[in-house]
Protein backbone atom coordinates (compact mmCIF):
# COMPACT_ATOMS: atom_id res chain seq x y z
CA UNK A 1 0.00 0.00 0.00
CA UNK A 2 2.89 2.26 0.70
CA UNK A 3 3.79 2.43 -2.97
CA UNK A 4 0.28 2.93 -4.29
CA UNK A 5 0.95 6.58 -4.98
CA UNK A 6 4.23 5.83 -6.75
CA UNK A 7 2.61 3.07 -8.85
CA UNK A 8 0.12 5.46 -10.37
CA UNK A 9 2.41 8.42 -10.84
CA UNK A 10 4.76 9.10 -13.69
CA UNK A 11 7.02 11.99 -14.50
CA UNK A 12 6.95 11.08 -18.19
CA UNK A 13 4.59 13.04 -20.38
CA UNK A 14 2.12 11.12 -22.58
CA UNK A 15 3.97 12.39 -25.66
CA UNK A 16 7.27 11.18 -24.21
CA UNK A 17 5.78 7.74 -23.55
CA UNK A 18 4.42 7.43 -27.08
CA UNK A 19 7.77 8.35 -28.57
CA UNK A 20 9.66 5.99 -26.29
CA UNK A 21 11.75 8.80 -24.85
CA UNK A 22 12.81 8.88 -21.23
CA UNK A 23 15.48 7.49 -18.98
CA UNK A 24 14.83 3.77 -19.17
CA UNK A 25 14.10 0.82 -21.48
CA UNK A 26 14.66 1.60 -25.15
CA UNK A 27 15.91 5.08 -24.29
CA UNK A 28 19.41 3.71 -23.71
CA UNK A 29 19.28 1.20 -26.57
CA UNK A 30 20.57 3.53 -29.25
CA UNK A 31 23.48 4.70 -27.11
CA UNK A 32 24.34 1.13 -26.11
CA UNK A 33 24.22 -0.12 -29.72
CA UNK A 34 26.66 2.59 -30.75
CA UNK A 35 29.12 1.42 -28.08
CA UNK A 36 28.71 -2.28 -28.83
CA UNK A 37 29.10 -1.80 -32.60
CA UNK A 38 32.14 0.45 -32.05
CA UNK A 39 33.80 -2.19 -29.85
CA UNK A 40 33.10 -4.91 -32.45
CA UNK A 41 34.28 -2.68 -35.29
CA UNK A 42 37.68 -2.13 -33.63
CA UNK A 43 39.18 -5.55 -34.52
CA UNK A 44 37.24 -5.66 -37.82
CA UNK A 45 38.59 -2.25 -38.87
CA UNK A 46 42.16 -3.23 -37.98
CA UNK A 47 41.73 -6.39 -40.06
CA UNK A 48 40.18 -4.53 -42.99
CA UNK A 49 42.73 -1.68 -42.98
CA UNK A 50 45.59 -4.20 -43.10
CA UNK A 51 43.81 -6.30 -45.76
CA UNK A 52 43.05 -3.26 -47.91
CA UNK A 53 46.68 -2.11 -47.66
CA UNK A 54 47.85 -5.60 -48.67
CA UNK A 55 45.42 -5.56 -51.63
CA UNK A 56 46.83 -2.30 -53.02
CA UNK A 57 47.18 -2.68 -56.79
CA UNK A 58 45.71 -6.20 -56.77
CA UNK A 59 44.13 -7.38 -60.03
CA UNK A 60 40.44 -8.22 -60.38
CA UNK A 61 41.18 -11.97 -60.17
CA UNK A 62 43.31 -11.55 -57.03
CA UNK A 63 40.71 -9.32 -55.35
CA UNK A 64 37.83 -11.68 -56.15
CA UNK A 65 39.87 -14.65 -54.90
CA UNK A 66 40.55 -12.78 -51.64
CA UNK A 67 36.86 -11.88 -51.13
CA UNK A 68 35.79 -15.45 -51.98
CA UNK A 69 37.82 -17.00 -49.15
CA UNK A 70 35.15 -17.98 -46.57
CA UNK A 71 36.74 -16.29 -43.55
CA UNK A 72 37.26 -13.06 -45.52
CA UNK A 73 33.65 -13.16 -46.81
CA UNK A 74 32.25 -13.69 -43.32
CA UNK A 75 34.38 -10.91 -41.80
CA UNK A 76 33.48 -8.61 -44.73
CA UNK A 77 29.76 -9.24 -44.17
CA UNK A 78 30.17 -8.51 -40.45
CA UNK A 79 32.15 -5.34 -41.24
CA UNK A 80 29.49 -4.18 -43.72
CA UNK A 81 26.55 -4.80 -41.36
CA UNK A 82 28.18 -3.25 -38.30
CA UNK A 83 29.70 -0.31 -40.22
CA UNK A 84 26.41 0.77 -41.74
CA UNK A 85 24.55 0.21 -38.46
CA UNK A 86 27.13 2.35 -36.62
CA UNK A 87 27.14 5.00 -39.39
CA UNK A 88 23.34 5.30 -39.42
CA UNK A 89 23.27 5.57 -35.63
CA UNK A 90 26.01 8.22 -35.64
CA UNK A 91 24.47 10.25 -38.44
CA UNK A 92 21.13 10.10 -36.59
CA UNK A 93 22.72 11.71 -33.51
CA UNK A 94 24.34 14.43 -35.63
CA UNK A 95 21.05 15.18 -37.41
CA UNK A 96 19.09 15.17 -34.15
CA UNK A 97 21.56 17.64 -32.68
CA UNK A 98 21.78 20.11 -35.54
CA UNK A 99 18.55 19.95 -37.56
CA UNK A 100 15.92 22.12 -35.96
CA UNK A 101 12.77 21.60 -38.03
CA UNK A 102 11.06 18.43 -36.84
CA UNK A 103 9.83 17.25 -40.26
CA UNK A 104 13.27 17.83 -41.76
CA UNK A 105 15.01 16.04 -38.88
CA UNK A 106 12.68 13.04 -39.07
CA UNK A 107 12.91 12.91 -42.86
CA UNK A 108 16.70 13.17 -42.83
CA UNK A 109 17.06 10.42 -40.21
CA UNK A 110 14.75 8.12 -42.19
CA UNK A 111 16.61 8.94 -45.42
CA UNK A 112 19.97 8.14 -43.81
CA UNK A 113 18.64 4.84 -42.46
CA UNK A 114 17.19 3.92 -45.85
CA UNK A 115 20.39 4.78 -47.73
CA UNK A 116 22.56 2.92 -45.21
CA UNK A 117 20.31 -0.16 -45.39
CA UNK A 118 20.33 -0.21 -49.20
CA UNK A 119 24.11 0.27 -49.42
CA UNK A 120 24.64 -2.48 -46.83
CA UNK A 121 22.38 -4.84 -48.79
CA UNK A 122 24.12 -3.98 -52.08
CA UNK A 123 27.60 -4.65 -50.64
CA UNK A 124 26.43 -7.83 -48.91
CA UNK A 125 24.96 -9.08 -52.18
CA UNK A 126 28.26 -8.30 -53.95
CA UNK A 127 30.23 -10.28 -51.35
CA UNK A 128 27.79 -13.21 -51.50
CA UNK A 129 27.81 -13.31 -55.32
CA UNK A 130 31.59 -13.53 -55.29
CA UNK A 131 31.82 -15.97 -52.38
CA UNK A 132 29.07 -18.42 -53.30
Amino acid sequence: MANEYADHTTLRSPLGRVRGLGSAKSGTMHWWHQRVTSALLLPLTLWFALSAALLAGASHAETVAWIARPHNAVLLLATIGLSFHHTAAGMQVILEDYVNQEWLRMGAVLAVKTICSLLALASALAVLRIAI
Binding site: L50, I94, L119, V127
Partner: protein, 148 residues
Protein backbone atom coordinates in the same frame (compact mmCIF):
# COMPACT_ATOMS: atom_id res chain seq x y z
CA UNK B 1 9.79 35.09 -26.70
CA UNK B 2 9.38 33.86 -30.23
CA UNK B 3 7.13 30.95 -31.21
CA UNK B 4 8.75 27.57 -30.60
CA UNK B 5 9.88 25.68 -33.69
CA UNK B 6 11.01 22.62 -31.81
CA UNK B 7 9.35 20.60 -29.02
CA UNK B 8 12.67 20.29 -27.23
CA UNK B 9 12.73 24.04 -26.68
CA UNK B 10 10.06 23.47 -24.02
CA UNK B 11 12.82 22.22 -21.72
CA UNK B 12 14.75 25.45 -22.22
CA UNK B 13 12.06 27.84 -21.06
CA UNK B 14 12.84 29.72 -17.86
CA UNK B 15 11.27 32.63 -16.01
CA UNK B 16 12.68 35.93 -14.95
CA UNK B 17 12.07 37.11 -11.37
CA UNK B 18 9.18 39.25 -12.68
CA UNK B 19 7.50 36.10 -14.03
CA UNK B 20 8.01 36.76 -17.75
CA UNK B 21 9.33 33.83 -19.80
CA UNK B 22 12.84 33.69 -21.18
CA UNK B 23 14.59 31.15 -23.40
CA UNK B 24 17.59 29.70 -21.58
CA UNK B 25 20.80 29.52 -23.62
CA UNK B 26 21.62 26.27 -25.38
CA UNK B 27 24.75 24.45 -24.25
CA UNK B 28 27.51 24.60 -25.44
CA UNK B 29 27.28 28.39 -25.57
CA UNK B 30 28.99 29.00 -28.87
CA UNK B 31 29.28 32.75 -28.20
CA UNK B 32 31.45 32.30 -25.11
CA UNK B 33 32.91 28.88 -25.86
CA UNK B 34 36.45 28.57 -27.15
CA UNK B 35 36.07 26.04 -29.96
CA UNK B 36 39.81 25.95 -30.54
CA UNK B 37 40.71 24.31 -27.24
CA UNK B 38 42.32 20.93 -27.88
CA UNK B 39 39.45 19.15 -26.12
CA UNK B 40 36.58 20.80 -28.00
CA UNK B 41 38.44 20.71 -31.34
CA UNK B 42 39.03 16.96 -30.92
CA UNK B 43 35.39 16.46 -29.93
CA UNK B 44 33.91 18.06 -33.05
CA UNK B 45 36.60 16.40 -35.19
CA UNK B 46 35.30 13.06 -33.98
CA UNK B 47 31.92 13.82 -35.50
CA UNK B 48 33.36 15.27 -38.69
CA UNK B 49 35.65 12.26 -39.25
CA UNK B 50 32.73 9.93 -38.49
CA UNK B 51 30.58 11.61 -41.14
CA UNK B 52 33.54 11.59 -43.57
CA UNK B 53 34.01 7.88 -42.97
CA UNK B 54 30.32 7.41 -43.74
CA UNK B 55 30.94 9.01 -47.15
CA UNK B 56 34.06 6.86 -47.52
CA UNK B 57 31.98 3.72 -47.01
CA UNK B 58 30.57 4.56 -50.44
CA UNK B 59 34.02 3.71 -51.86
CA UNK B 60 33.86 0.31 -50.15
CA UNK B 61 30.44 -0.34 -51.68
CA UNK B 62 31.68 0.74 -55.12
CA UNK B 63 34.77 -1.47 -54.80
CA UNK B 64 32.75 -4.56 -53.75
CA UNK B 65 29.96 -4.09 -56.29
CA UNK B 66 32.50 -3.50 -59.08
CA UNK B 67 34.45 -6.61 -58.05
CA UNK B 68 31.21 -8.61 -58.24
CA UNK B 69 30.15 -7.23 -61.61
CA UNK B 70 33.38 -7.95 -63.47
CA UNK B 71 36.88 -6.92 -64.65
CA UNK B 72 35.82 -3.84 -66.64
CA UNK B 73 33.86 -2.26 -63.75
CA UNK B 74 36.73 -3.16 -61.43
CA UNK B 75 39.21 -1.49 -63.79
CA UNK B 76 37.20 1.75 -63.49
CA UNK B 77 37.44 1.61 -59.69
CA UNK B 78 41.17 0.95 -59.87
CA UNK B 79 41.63 3.79 -62.33
CA UNK B 80 39.87 6.15 -59.91
CA UNK B 81 41.58 4.85 -56.77
CA UNK B 82 45.03 5.22 -58.35
CA UNK B 83 44.33 8.71 -59.78
CA UNK B 84 45.66 11.65 -57.78
CA UNK B 85 42.12 12.55 -56.68
CA UNK B 86 41.41 8.97 -55.63
CA UNK B 87 44.72 8.64 -53.77
CA UNK B 88 44.15 11.98 -52.02
CA UNK B 89 40.63 10.88 -51.05
CA UNK B 90 41.84 7.50 -49.84
CA UNK B 91 44.68 9.09 -47.85
CA UNK B 92 42.28 11.56 -46.22
CA UNK B 93 39.87 8.72 -45.55
CA UNK B 94 42.61 6.66 -43.90
CA UNK B 95 43.47 9.59 -41.64
CA UNK B 96 39.81 10.25 -40.78
CA UNK B 97 39.20 6.55 -40.11
CA UNK B 98 42.23 6.22 -37.83
CA UNK B 99 41.33 9.41 -35.97
CA UNK B 100 37.71 8.31 -35.46
CA UNK B 101 38.86 4.84 -34.38
CA UNK B 102 41.47 6.05 -31.87
CA UNK B 103 39.23 8.80 -30.50
CA UNK B 104 36.48 6.17 -30.30
CA UNK B 105 38.70 4.13 -27.98
CA UNK B 106 39.17 7.30 -25.93
CA UNK B 107 35.40 7.67 -25.74
CA UNK B 108 34.92 4.03 -24.74
CA UNK B 109 37.42 4.58 -21.90
CA UNK B 110 35.41 7.63 -20.80
CA UNK B 111 32.19 5.60 -20.97
CA UNK B 112 33.81 3.02 -18.72
CA UNK B 113 34.67 5.83 -16.29
CA UNK B 114 38.40 6.32 -16.94
CA UNK B 115 40.47 9.37 -17.82
CA UNK B 116 38.01 12.12 -16.94
CA UNK B 117 40.40 14.52 -15.21
CA UNK B 118 41.69 17.44 -17.26
CA UNK B 119 45.39 16.39 -17.51
CA UNK B 120 44.38 12.85 -18.62
CA UNK B 121 41.94 14.29 -21.17
CA UNK B 122 44.68 16.41 -22.74
CA UNK B 123 47.22 13.59 -22.61
CA UNK B 124 44.85 11.07 -24.26
CA UNK B 125 43.95 13.73 -26.84
CA UNK B 126 47.61 14.20 -27.80
CA UNK B 127 48.09 10.42 -27.93
CA UNK B 128 45.13 10.20 -30.36
CA UNK B 129 46.68 12.89 -32.60
CA UNK B 130 50.12 11.27 -32.65
CA UNK B 131 48.52 7.83 -33.07
CA UNK B 132 46.50 9.04 -36.05
CA UNK B 133 49.62 10.29 -37.87
CA UNK B 134 51.62 7.15 -37.04
CA UNK B 135 48.87 4.67 -38.02
CA UNK B 136 47.95 6.57 -41.22
CA UNK B 137 51.58 6.63 -42.37
CA UNK B 138 52.04 2.98 -41.36
CA UNK B 139 48.98 1.93 -43.39
CA UNK B 140 50.27 3.75 -46.47
CA UNK B 141 53.83 2.47 -46.03
CA UNK B 142 52.45 -1.09 -46.07
CA UNK B 143 50.25 -0.27 -49.07
CA UNK B 144 53.19 1.31 -50.98
CA UNK B 145 55.48 -1.66 -50.29
CA UNK B 146 52.79 -4.06 -51.53
CA UNK B 147 52.00 -1.90 -54.55
CA UNK B 148 55.63 -1.38 -55.62
Amino acid sequence: MSIMQDGREATMVGRRTDGSTIKRPLSPHLQVYDMLQLTSALSISSRITGAAWGVGLGLLVWWLVAAASGPSAFATVQWFMSSWLGLLGLFGMTGAAWYHTLNGVRHLAWDAGYGYDIPSTYRSGRIVLVGTVVMTLLTWIIASIVWA
